[in-house]
Subunit: 663 residues, 2 copies
């Protein structure tokens, strides 16, 4: 079973593209910038198990110590670093990885335990709070780091201690009478264990990942009660004592543990937890095989549909609720803080990509790839500045005085920056997938760029190369070089938003199957070079009417656009009162982010602006005649920039994606 | 200083009107119905201080025992009963009041303490949790009951023990070094003490009410810390232990105690608490006099404006947030549960009326009276069924599957039903206010009905009578009978929504001052009978555009209308997808609630219905062309009924006030 974290190495980026430039920035700037932050904040040396002053700090969010995730911050940095080293060596990064691995090895306890906080600060509290205290989450990221490390370095220096740690955990947690029937509050180890199994083929790794998934939400799992209830009581907590992210006692929907997954009907709770969990469930379904009906697959489909149809923002972002960093009710999707909230955590959109990729492996359907691409080019890529040294955690669709559209240099809870970094390390594994069955090769192209895929078949290699200026231009030239004996089929995704598209030469059939166009081995033999042309033009998008937001946003290709004050300096109210006329002319303006040589297409709407004005004379009522739309002579042009490229040019941090629509 | 709870007795309702019929229902049905509920639930006998099985129950909302408010349920019933007895005797009600007073007298402790829970259940915990446990709230309602009792019965049987209790409280709480510097979590006693002062003229009662108001929110009030922090620590609570209605530690905005009132800039927290508090502040401002600028008055104006302009529903209801039964952020006003929430507690709208009446006394401005009337005829009157035996607590503007538009017979927290009852007992005090200064009488008419006001001046009486079919018809006939020597000025409120109005005979000037028309003594002498005609016709109202709700609701006069499934049986989605064309014809249809002889004007919109349909094909995006408005042949008529009269005719509980607007 293939994972993008392995297959990415078959993809190279021979010429400049949006994706290659993002990778270049990470390689040149971000990895070293993050390494420096790890060092200055104390994370780098934390596996030396020495006391750090921050261990004394009161938690920002009780009961989670501020340093609790340091293990995973380091692990994710190592993982991303190894993906990039696999592409191109770098002495400084390589030295840091080696030094970190040494420290991790030295931090392991004799019984295999490997965790900073519960060794240095609270050694007696090991495994006493799975619900809140991220032990297994940290372990999962260490597993993923070990997989990346061993894949690049081809040695077991990190894998060895991690396997020993997994052995300890496998003894501790499980269905046996002497075991704890627990499962992580923050899913991550499940997907890590299943990936570990694909490498080690050790059936215990498979069983362990499966156990965590299937035990989750068992209402009687421990002593006839819910594990988290028992665990909490054992900690001596009163039932009215709870973290701020749990609105009431036993809010186990927060971690998708309120009922077993197969009984969950809507997607709830913390978004990142949900995505990591469902990604693991999808891998488990893949491993179980899809020959027979599988309630877990039904659950995946149900929860995916609920999320995409009713709980996803225009940018692909998920999570409206700040309190629990997660999903609200159906259709509750306000644009920003002063309209009811908007969270859309960067890690969560990365999680959507992970899940979409897995679902795409289970079923080749463009609906998954459309979302994957939507998230990548919007809710994920907005998470990093063009220079790769500033990040976002929360990605609102409209700014406000209390929450400006601005990135930050780091975060106390630093999960997002290294998540973006490692994603860009193995992004090649998302562009396309391939499988070889009965000596027949199928290549499914999901994302467009300038990239080359090389698949070894026996002594030969099948190479497919695409050249394009995606996402700015929609013309992609393909060349297939197949010296093997394997007949090769190529399926090309035609995005759902593409109103027109053309293949040249013309294929025998342009019928799409679940949004993919099939190019047969025979046709490809005759036409090893071909071109797909998807004209990219501005279009309007809106959320569902039940969101009660009568707004339109501009999109072009996979990109969603926004207004920023930098281009529209007249703004003073975060574009709240602006009314956009969809009948206005839209011009495409090639531009570039100054100082970064990052080209983009700006969109300018001409004579499309007016403003809503309301008399307050009859509060709380506004008779409709009191609500007027006033056109303006001042604002003749509205300049839009891709949401992913916002906040790269200074400004006051005023931004909005969806604008009030003019009727 | 006059209060409506005293002045109401000057108002009589000689002929049938909406208000008189509501009062009749309360007198004939509701008081006895509520008395029976008091008896069957255990409240009636609770002042006998015997154990009741419910005292063992786990609280629905920790830490508030379910029976904690029983004192105030009884007190409010007594209060309402006395107002009605003052109008018309009733042997059963009278006997019950007397018996209850006996039990209350017998429940008083030797030191004056008088509280059911903290005598029977937790006597050692007296005064240890002002933040959550309603001791002073209960005491305040007992004071109000004593005032009503003594006003009707003209004896001190209830006043005596209450004054003794107040003495104990006055010793316990205050600024002195040996005193507790606390103040109630739920304001109520402040307004009760100030009313008590107007009767007793005991300066301690004034000082006590003032102390509670001014000490509130003092960040260093007790031992250099916030009183609630100190109190909580003394209880041994961890800082992570808190009720579900407090989203985080020290959420003192919930009870408007985060900072002193004069420093509060927006209205926050639990709505009823806010209204009772500000009502008391307004009384304090009245007592302090308005000659000099008063920061408390500035705060009142600020908070009132914030509430009415940005945090009030079309019905006058306040409070969007269920979690804390109170205010959300500016402009966050979803219609119902499945759109983000809607609370609009009945008691809170009554509180708005109380505050509006006080502000009207400070400043004769129709903006206060418009809100007072809006609340009365919508958010308050919707709280009781036409037969007076079913009630609402929460008053949403749209139903949903989880929260149907249905009243209930009672509530565990039973504050709303007796609040409606007692309000209708003294409603006469809201219709008009009067003052006699230098032997000149001014009568300000705020609400219209059929009613008579009799003001004794020396040996004479000035009588003003209004006759109308308000709120169904807008023609009001007035007759002034002034046998006194006092020149009498009448000011008539012209509602803000009145597009036309006419006085006949024509007065010399029709200039309004703050929305009131002044009729001079000279003119009245020449025209003691006159008529005000305010044509009532249907009109549309909307919320502010920043609520992001592009909806229109129908209104006529002071009434806001809604759709119910009873009249529109085709509905199956709580009118969520319905689109209303404001250009459609509206017919007025006289109707009556069957079995209740309660007439009303229904409104029927002809050929005004269509439905929004959305294709989900590009989730999360809906290209605008995917959102279609489909007209329908089936639904030719939409039948609206006043929101106050909903759920009186059976049905499935599907209801909506504001409908999606057709452009």
């Amino acid at each position: 079973m293939a994972h993008p974290q392995e297959t990415f190495s078959r993809t190279s980026f021979p010429s400049s593209s949006f994706i290659s430039r993002r990778r270049q920035v990470v390689y040149e700037n971000t990895l070293l910038y993050q390494l420096n932050v790890l060092k200055t904040t104390g994370r780098y040396e934390a596996f030396k198990l020495e006391w750090h002053p921050t261990y004394d700090d009161k938690p920002n969010v009780w009961p989670v110590p501020n340093h609790l995730f340091w293990d995973s911050d380091v692990a994710k940095w190592i993982e991303g670093a190894c993906y990039f080293l696999q592409w191109r060596n770098n002495a400084e990064i390589d030295a840091a990885v080696k030094e970190l691995v040494e420290m991790i090895r030295s931090a392991q306890q004799p019984d295999g335990y490997l965790n900073i906080h519960f060794t240095v600060v609270e050694p007696a509290k090991r495994f006493t709070n799975l619900r809140d205290l991220h032990e297994l989450y940290n372990a999962g990221h260490l597993i993923e780091a070990a997989l990346a490390h061993s894949q690049h370095y081809q040695n077991d220096l990190l894998m060895e201690p991690i396997l020993k740690y997994v052995d300890l955990l496998y003894k501790t947690f499980g269905p046996g009478p002497e075991q704890k029937h627990g499962y992580p509050g923050h899913p991550e180890i499940e997907l890590a264990l299943l990936r570990l199994y694909t490498k080690t083929k050790d059936p215990r790794h498979y069983a362990f990942g499966r156990y965590f998934i299937e035990e989750r939400g068992n209402p009687k799992g421990q002593y006839g009660h819910h594990y988290y209830d028992v665990e909490s009581e054992a900690r001596g907590e009163s039932s009215n004592e709870r973290p701020v992210y749990l609105p009431a006692s036993q809010s186990y929907w927060y971690q998708q543990a309120h009922v077993p997954i197969v009984d969950q009907h809507t997607i709830e709770g913390h978004s990142v937890r949900a995505m990591y969990l469902l990604t693991a469930v999808a891998d488990l379904v893949r491993m179980e095989g899809t020959d027979v009906s599988n309630p877990k697959l039904d659950a995946l489909h149900r929860l995916w549909s609920n999320m995409v149809d009713k709980k996803m923002y225009l940018t692909g972002g998920i999570g409206a609720m700040k309190q629990w960093e997660g999903f609200g009710i159906d259709y509750f999707l306000p644009s920003g803080t002063d309209e009811g909230g908007c969270y859309a955590e960067t890690c969560a959109a990365i999680g959507v990509m992970m899940l979409a990729e897995r679902l795409l492996q289970l079923e080749l359907d463009r609906k998954y790839a459309d979302i994957l691409e939507l998230c990548f080019y919007n809710a994920v890529m907005t998470g990093m500045s063009v220079h790769g040294t500033q990040f976002t955690y929360v990605n609102q669709l409209a700014s406000s005085e209390s929450d400006l559209s601005k990135r930050a240099e780091w975060f106390t809870c630093a999960c997002c920056p290294p998540n973006v970094t490692r994603l860009l390390g193995y992004i090649g594994g998302y562009l396309w997938t391939s499988n070889l069955v009965d000596q027949r090769l199928a290549i499914n192209v999901h994302m467009y760029s300038s990239a080359k895929l090389a698949i070894p078949i026996g002594d030969s290699t099948v190479e497919i190369e695409q050249k394009s200026n995606w996402p700015w231009e929609g013309k992609i030239q393909f060349a297939l070089r197949n010296t093997s004996a394997a007949p090769t089929t190529i399926r090309l995704r035609i995005p759902g938003w593409a109103t027109q598209w053309k293949i040249s030469p013309a294929p025998s059939s342009t019928e799409l199957v679940n949004g993919y166009l099939t190019l047969s081995p025979e046709w490809l033999q005759a036409n090893p070079s071909f071109e797909l042309d998807i004209p990219l033009q501005p279009r309007y998008i809106s959320p569902h009417p039940y969101t009660n937001q009568d707004i339109i946003a501009l999109a072009r290709g996979p990109l969603v656009y926004c207004l920023e004050d930098v281009d529209n300096p007249w703004v003073n109210d975060h574009f709240k009162g602006l009314v956009l006329d969809p009948a206005g002319t839209i011009n495409e303006i090639p531009a570039s982010i100054p100082g970064a040589e990052e080209p983009y297409i700006g969109l300018t709407a001409l004579n499309a602006a007016s403003f809503v004005k309301t008399d307050s004379g009859q509060s709380p009522h506004r008779p409709p005649e009191y609500i007027t739309i006033e056109s303006t002579e001042e604002v003749k042009e509205l300049h839009f920039i891709p949401y992913a490229l916002r906040d790269n040019r200074g400004g006051r941090g005023q931004m909005r994606v969806g604008i009030r629509r003019k009727h």
